[in-house]
């Protein structure tokens, strides 16, 4: 059954069953994406489950190499194979399992219903195509528009992302635009078909600090306008605190904590999340007095091909006990909506 059969008017809302209303737009269940390399199997995404609701902004945070990007690429079916492969799990998008779709079915969803914004617009845009042409392609492919109609739509889209004089910019090439403008063009391309879901993979990391806020503001503005959901993949915790409704924390391919944004910043449970938050420089009395040093998480992130037994975080964890070395902690719901995978929290050490 599809949500789309119900008329989207306010009055109709009470007739929708509670269950259907709650069905998330994107529901990832036990996703495992492994890379089979000569050196061994890399478990980049290891049994990850989370969901993103309609019109929801969810932050996916963690250090580089924790599997954030691989998760996003798995959703789009863009894992390079070989060596990568989705080993098991389900990726339900509007109730349909993307993992079971044929490449052709999945292609029709990519860029149309689910779009992606990449980290570095300079290298993510094709240097030999004008930005207009790169947006036009999306329309000619998914909407079957003529080039002329598509060009008109592309111009409208550039206007929406607030690129000045779009009629001229449409003919310009990526190298002729500034970093911020390039990312705006990238956003225009991603939003072209009014997708239900945007995967934003570090959308501001490569930009100047002054531009970062502008781009995020723009994304959120358009998100509200179009009713899109966003999976905001980032290590910029400030951006997450500002815009996300819920936060998912990943460490070495596993989800270690998941909670609404306020609890995660006010009372983080997992020692890794605590460490992440403590390593943000803060302004305030403690910092000004010079009494408190910026904290860091001790130790190194182990290589994905050299993972410890049990909880992956135990070698760096101050609360670690014997069981952490042996047995992997499963996610459990500590408070409604706040899930964490930690023995210390579970056992109340």
């Amino acid at each position: 059954m599809d949500l789309g059969i119900f008329p989207r008017v306010v009055g109709a809302k009470k007739f929708e069953s509670k269950k259907m209303n709650d069905r998330p737009l994107l529901d990832i269940r036990n996703l495992k994406t492994y890379f089979f390399l000569p050196e061994g199997v890399i478990k980049a995404v290891d049994n990850v489950s989370f969901h993103v609701g309609n019109r929801e902004i969810v932050g996916l945070v963690g250090e580089s190499g924790c599997g954030k990007s691989v998760t996003a690429l798995s959703i789009l079916g863009l894992i390079q194979s070989p060596p990568g492969q989705i080993v098991s799990g389900e990726i339900l998008f509007q109730g349909q399992d993307l993992c079971k779709m044929s490449p052709e079915q999945l292609r029709k969803i990519r860029g149309n219903r689910i779009a992606m914004i990449f980290q570095e617009p300079m290298i993510s845009l094709n240097p030999l195509y004008s930005i207009g042409d790169q947006i036009v392609e999306v329309y000619t492919e998914h909407y079957g528009l003529s080039r002329q109609e598509a060009r008109k739509k592309a111009k409208e889209m550039l206007e929406k992302v607030q690129i000045p004089s779009p009629a001229r910019r449409i003919y310009e090439y990526p190298h002729q635009l500034s970093g911020g403008m390039r990312q705006r063009a990238m956003i225009a391309m991603a939003l072209a078909c009014k997708p239900a879901m945007i995967l934003a993979d570090e959308p501001t990391t490569a930009l100047d600090v002054t531009i970062q806020a502008q781009i995020l503001e723009l994304m959120v503005e358009l998100q509200k306008l179009m009713g899109t959901s966003i999976l905001l993949i980032t290590h910029n915790l400030g951006a997450v605190a500002e815009y996300a409704k819920r936060v998912i924390v990943m460490y070495l391919g596993r989800v270690v904590e998941e909670a609404p944004v306020i609890p995660i910043f006010e009372s983080p449970l997992h020692p890794y999340t605590v460490g992440l938050l403590n390593s943000i420089p803060k302004l305030g009395s403690k910092a000004i007095g010079g009494k408190k040093r910026l904290e860091e998480i001790p130790g190194m992130v182990p290589g994905l091909n050299d993972l410890p037994e049990g909880c992956y975080f135990h070698p760096r964890c101050s609360k670690g006990r014997e069981i952490c070395k042996r047995k992997e902690p499963k996610l459990f719901e500590n408070q409604p909506g706040h899930r964490v995978a930690c023995w210390a929290v579970r056992e109340g050490w």
Partner: protein, 313 residues
């Protein structure tokens, strides 16, 4: 673009000047000098002096050099020592044969090499890739004269399909193509091998690029991703290498002209060497050098057609 072309042509004048100078002085370092080269080791002193005077070799070197450059500027390539006929018209007569051969081989190399390079890149490490790579390694390694003889044995002797030698009647297109086939195949297969290898590695590089992933994330069909977004970017390194290969091609065309007894610059050059006709030799070398400079000019101009970042200012 036209302005750029004109400027590049002007800039190539110093290059040609240096090449002509090098050729001129190299010729003068032949043991005993050109006159001895012509008359042989047992010529009398008087005979040598008389010939040197006749050839203007008794004049100071600077005068000879200025005279040589002056003639070149006027398009005068001098007169053959052997028969006294002007060289320029002879070059004009044989040059089309060499150009025909060079361009048809290059075309064959591009038509076969680029698709093969793309396919081997897409089937990386699969059977077709190993097969294609082995074949192109062979193509690069087998000397052209040997390849020419092999093809001649197969197509002319065993199958009796194509002629062994000559260029045919130049006014008859069918006859020209008929005679062009085997020499083109010989050089073209070598070019195919080179271009396949280059295309394969260029494609493998480009396929790793972020913008190819973006193209896929947009939901474009694989056909457009590969032949639009990826291959177009791969063309930039491919074209640079084709410029280098064209020079290798010209060098090898000399051998092919000899093997197939085709008229052409190469045959003219080898003839000049055999007859110790150093004026002809010197002129043909200058023509070859100009050809290489011209190809490089074409390569530089073609970048602008595919890469908007290239500016001709």
């Amino acid at each position: 673009m036209i302005q750029f072309a004109v400027r590049r042509i002007i800039l190539s004048i110093p290059i040609l000047l240096i090449v002509a100078t090098l050729i001129f002085f190299l010729m003068r370092t032949m043991p005993g000098g050109p006159a001895v080269a012509v008359l042989g080791d047992y010529a009398t002193k008087e005979a040598i002096e008389a010939l040197e005077k006749q050839m203007g070799l008794d004049r100071p070197l600077g005068v000879q050099y200025a005279d040589f450059l002056g003639s070149l500027v006027r398009g005068d390539l001098g007169k053959s020592i052997i028969n006294g006929r002007p060289i320029a018209p002879e070059v004009g007569r044989v040059l089309p044969y060499t150009l025909q051969l060079a361009f048809s081989s290059l075309l064959l190399g591009i038509i076969l090499g680029i698709p093969m390079g793309v396919f081997t890149a897409l089937r990386r490490n699969a059977f077709f890739d190993y097969f294609g790579r082995t074949l192109s390694l062979a193509g690069v390694s087998i000397p052209t004269f040997f390849m020419g003889i092999l093809l001649m044995l197969l197509f002319s002797i065993q199958l009796d399909l194509f002629p062994v030698m000559g260029a045919g009647d130049s006014s008859d297109l069918r006859d020209t193509l008929y005679h062009l086939f085997l020499p083109t195949l010989t050089l073209g297969l070598m070019m195919t091998a080179y271009i396949t290898r280059t295309t394969r590695s260029a494609m493998l590089n480009v396929l790793q690029e972020e913008y190819v992933r973006t193209a896929r994330a947009k939901g474009l069909p694989e056909r457009i991703v590969i032949y639009g977004h990826a291959l177009r970017n791969a063309f930039i390194p491919i074209i640079s290498f084709i410029g280098v290969y064209a020079i290798i091609l010209i060098g090898n065309s000399i051998l092919v002209e000899i093997v197939f007894s085709r008229p052409g610059l190469g045959k003219m050059m080898i003839g000049a060497i055999k007859q110790r006709d150093y004026i002809t030799l010197q002129s043909v070398m200058v023509v070859y050098a100009s050809l290489v400079v011209f190809i490089n000019l074409l390569i530089d101009l073609s970048y602008g057609l595919i890469d908007p970042r290239v500016k001709y200012e």
